[in-house]
Symmetry: C2
Subunit: 409 residues, 2 copies
């Protein structure tokens, strides 16, 4: 038997049939037209946004669309946040449908000219990632007769300790190295562009509050240093995100209260604050991961050499990350449950696999579950971020998963 | 500097601008309408099929569609092979468009009732993966008034040594354990179904001829034993595939000549052959991987902490496997080249990364290339299998890659 990760608080103490947003799973399956199915509970997102607001009073909240760009979900999230961060022209279009351009910023290391032009035309902020990209944006702005709104993304000297994905403190395609940041700011301002500030992103999926606090403090210090060197006060400092969620056994939630209190103090102390700088934190995973449940139906049950397999109608083609094949070295189990027997004692150890002809397609490896039969539903939790949109949907020719949003009541 | 894998023979000795099927890359880009772009050279597939025919005279050649299901490619491959193996109802539809039902078989551990019914209606062979699935197929056949064509997929006692992905010799969602195979065959025959034979798949991506030979011999022995125990001669034994291609530095091609000679002898010796059994090998990757080239344009070039990055307009959203994030533990470089300077000496060490906001999006890690500029094309080879269709296309909202087939001239 191998452990599974912890259920999100909204689902952890349920018994009997799993309810999402107060409705039983079979209802959601009927509403969506079948399985496999992602259900996203907007109330869970709102609860996370509320916790952020309570602990980060003076900090703007941005949503990083890449975590989950489903239009129906995005429409529900937009009113809960101050800004949207996009990473492609495709995401930009989705953001512009639900938020004014002034609240949108566009980051990404390989922006094509047509993407830069679309952003400049719309009036969104471009987080430029290199001197070359800044020059292209300025040239395009000149051609379009529009002064581009440019923030400078900086590759910080620091990395976020304990983060699932380090993005600072090393050679990186993201941003300009900190020691060239001030020169780039000066050249942007000199070119007459509308300089919007700084974007500094040091890592993601961190659960250690002390590490996040340390990184945010160092990010503020770096922002101060760059402002000083450039002789310019940044209108906004986007402190990045990096707030993690507990996926695996032994993971504990990030202590947001502690992070918020420390950041409030650091911001209070900063000379930039007095000079009028605002701050933003961009969150993707932390806002939406726990809001999503992936529901897949058991198609077959079989025993092979003493191991019991539950074979489901959905797998890594919809939920690549849960199969352990996306950015993880060692496969570990996401939290999952037999959907109509929440809280029931485990009766057997089974492996839950998808329908694909590859041994990679495993949603649960030797997990303890109540007795399950063909036709039962398996719920895989933590499916709200980097799920449907970050999986190889076309692989092996199965239909895409249904996706449905439970609105705020 | 880190090594890259070997270029396929069709491209290895080129100089100047890369030509695919005799046409320069810039031509293909123009024909497809831009980058990123997959070009598949059908002549390379035909050459591989020809090598198979020359070395496996008495063995049927099947194409496993999952390796690359692009309809235009499939239409070109269908006349080159004896059968098509599919893994979903979606793939079944594509196969039926280019091949008669009698030449199609359908494997996969989680076939839904609607998939089984579609296969039975069409008259294709179902490789049943469990006793439960066989029972469902028989029930559905009864309901449809059609006798289903059923082969039995067997989880062999043996595993393919040195294969990239082991699929035998262990608990498995694929097939019934060998010791239950005969009972399932007998029950299928007793139920009046049309028993088509055996499907035995022990692993994939093997480069060691001795290991493949050993596995094929053991597979034949297992087929004989099952036929004996069941008292039934299998019309067809699908020996699986598992022929690998060299992706990485140090990989050497599988010695097909040796494998073919050994299999011919083993088949010659087998009592099943005398009794009329035919044999098939199903190949996906080996037929198409080397036929594909992924072309992506450099959008930015930057230096960070001493490391030079070429940032391209395509990445893991189209070519997940090349980024090292699909079924590999240690990331290694696929073969890649600067497309207009084939054969030119390396001038610098660079990392080639895609446009996605994730450090996972790396196509080449510290590779030696001639000097490259913004606007140049990077060619990533071995892109014909498990590329476009096995990648998270929607991730970060970029457009899908173009795909174009170079027909046989």
């Amino acid at each position: 038997m191998k452990p599974t990760g912890p259920l999100p608080p909204e689902f952890a103490s349920q018994s009997g049939e799993l309810a999402i947003a107060g409705r039983p799973t079979h209802d959601w399956v009927a509403a969506a037209g079948g399985t496999p199915l992602f259900v996203y509970d907007l109330a869970v997102v709102a609860a996370r946004a509320g916790r952020f607001r309570a602990n980060f009073e003076k900090i703007d909240l941005h949503y990083a669309i890449k975590a989950n760009p489903l239009p129906a979900l995005l429409a529900g999230i937009a009113p809960l946040v101050d800004g949207l961060d996009v990473a492609s022209a495709g995401e930009l279009d989705r953001a512009l449908a639900v938020k004014p351009a002034a609240a949108i910023s566009f980051a990404g290391p390989g922006k094509r000219d047509d993407e830069l032009a679309a952003a400049i035309r719309a009036g969104v902020t471009l987080n430029v990632e290199s001197e070359g990209e800044a020059a292209r944006a300025l040239t395009l702005g000149g051609r379009l007769g529009r002064s581009p709104r440019l923030a400078v993304r900086v590759n910080p000297d620091i990395e976020l300790r304990g983060s699932g994905m380090k993005m600072g403190g090393r050679p990186s395609p993201f941003g300009v190295d900190a020691d060239r940041g001030a020169a780039l700011i000066r050249s942007i301002v000199a070119a007459g562009a509308d300089w919007r500030g700084l974007h500094i992103y040091a890592g993601s999926q961190a659960l250690d509050a002390a590490a996040v606090i340390e990184t945010q403090a160092a990010t503020l210090t770096l922002a101060e240093r760059l402002a000083d060197e450039a002789g310019q006060v940044p209108p906004l400092v986007n402190l990045g995100g990096g707030f993690g969620v507990p996926y695996f056994a032994g993971d504990t939630p990030l202590d947001i209260e502690r992070v918020g209190a420390a950041l409030a103090e650091a911001v209070e102390r900063s000379a930039l604050t007095a000079a009028g700088t605002r701050y933003a934190i961009e969150l993707g995973r932390w806002l939406v991961a726990e809001a999503g449940v992936y529901l897949t139906r058991i198609v077959d049950r079989k025993v092979s050499r003493g191991e019991t397999f539950l074979i489901t109608d959905g797998g890594l083609n919809h939920q690549l990350a849960a199969s352990g094949n996306f950015g993880t070295v060692v496969r570990r189990n996401y939290p999952l449950a037999l959907a109509h027997r929440m809280g029931a004692p485990a009766a057997e150890t089974v492996s839950v696999v998808g329908p694909l002809c590859t041994p990679l397609d495993r949603l649960g490896d030797q997990v303890a579950l109540p007795a399950a039969e063909v036709g039962d539903l398996i719920a895989v939790f933590l499916a709200g971020a980097y799920g449907a949109s970050a999986s190889p949907t076309a692989f092996l020719g199965h239909p895409p998963a249904h996706e449905i949003v439970a609105p705020l009541s």
